[in-house]
């Protein structure tokens, strides 16, 4: 519907995200982490008694919010995504690469106890030394691995 700009600027989106972090602390005294929501959603699906049900609603909410922003922005359209990867590799390879990357990412997030939102924003904002260390570790590694990917693909990525 083109109500939203193509891309909300960082100086609007960043503080908005920060206020959401503070807001969830004020309501539930909990961090706005996403990997934990995956864990709880899996528990809800498996009907485990200690599952935190509202985390599954939160998980669903991220879909809903993304959909609203899409409709208000460029509009909803079914597509594959990963345009830049699809230029470099055929679809089957892209699926394999994304799957392997995501498994490694999930394993690492569970090992570290959080991801980009959990440690990277909520943990650092709590001034947690563990979160700062985790964030420096994943930021540094991600930049390094991206550089290696660029070398391996001859500059295509």
């Amino acid at each position: 519907m083109d109500v939203l700009p193509d891309r909300i600027a960082w100086y609007v989106a960043g503080p908005a995200l920060g206020l959401l972090v503070v807001g969830l602390f004020l309501v539930a005294n909990q961090p706005l982490g996403a990997s934990g929501a995956y864990v709880q959603t899996a528990k809800v699906i498996r009907r485990e008694p200690d599952a935190v049900v509202w985390r599954a609603w939160y998980f669903v909410g991220i879909f809903v919010g993304g959909l609203i922003a899409t409709i208000l922005g460029a509009g909803f359209e079914l597509r594959s995504g990963y345009d830049a990867l699809r230029v470099v590799w055929p679809l089957g390879v892209v699926i394999g690469v994304v799957a392997v990357g995501a498994v490694v990412m999930g394993y690492g997030a569970r090992m570290a106890g959080g991801c980009t939102s959990g440690h990277g924003i909520c943990g650092t904002a709590q001034r947690s030394p563990a979160s700062w260390v985790t964030t420096i570790s994943f930021m540094g590694t991600a930049v390094l691995v991206t550089f290696v990917l660029r070398l391996v693909t001859g500059g295509d990525l």
Binding site: R7, I8, W10, A13, G14, P15, L17, G18, L19, G23, F25, A28, N29, P31, G33, A34, G36, A37, Y38, V53, W54, R55, W57, F59, G61, I62, F63, V64, L67, G73, F76, S80, G81, A84, V94, I95, V98, V100, G101, A102, V103, V104, M105, G106, Y107, A109, M111, G113, H119, I121, C122, R127, S128, A130, T135, S137, A142, V145, T146, L149
Partner: protein
């Protein structure tokens, strides 16, 4: 409380997803450009989010503000350990390869990008694999859902 908290959960999730998709963080190209150090926007976005929430949380904790459902507002500050460094490095590797992370991959799918489903499935598998591999509760989760009240190790 449960039903109301479910609604709060949905609302906070929706706000989060809205900001992520609005800022294009659900697009592989945005994250890849960030990690290639081609544009500073996402780093600045994260920095601005921290710069907004860090001082507010600091003040709210000092004032011992009562939260709606979680008792007195408490922040958790754990000591860094080996699993933070190694887990972070694994996470960073996957992040660079898949070009998305747990929350943006959900918004990726609801923006219509079907391959986001592969990322979500992989994330569920990876998180589960770690739990199967290590049969104990993960320690020191300052970023995931935590049991309250929170132990503060490194205050």
């Amino acid at each position: 409380m449960n039903r109301r908290m479910n609604l709060w959960g949905l609302l906070f999730g929706a706000g989060f997803g809205f900001v992520l998709a609005g800022a294009q963080l659900h697009e592989y190209d945005t994250i890849h450009a960030m990690l290639r150090l081609d544009e500073p926007d996402v780093f600045l976005l994260m920095g601005a989010a921290i710069a907004t929430s860090l001082p507010l949380l600091w003040v709210l904790e000092r004032r011992r503000v009562r939260t709606l459902y979680g008792g007195t507002l408490t922040l958790s500050r754990s000591r860094p350990q080996r699993h933070h460094v190694v887990g972070g490095a694994l996470f960073g590797t996957g992040w660079a390869v898949a070009g998305t992370c747990p929350a943006p991959s959900l918004a990726m799918v609801s923006s219509g990008a079907v391959l986001g489903l592969v990322a979500i499935a992989g994330l569920f598998a990876g998180l589960h694999l770690r739990d199967v591999h290590v049969r104990r509760a993960p320690a020191d989760s300052d970023g995931e859902h935590r049991a309250l009240p929170v132990p503060v190790a490194a205050r």
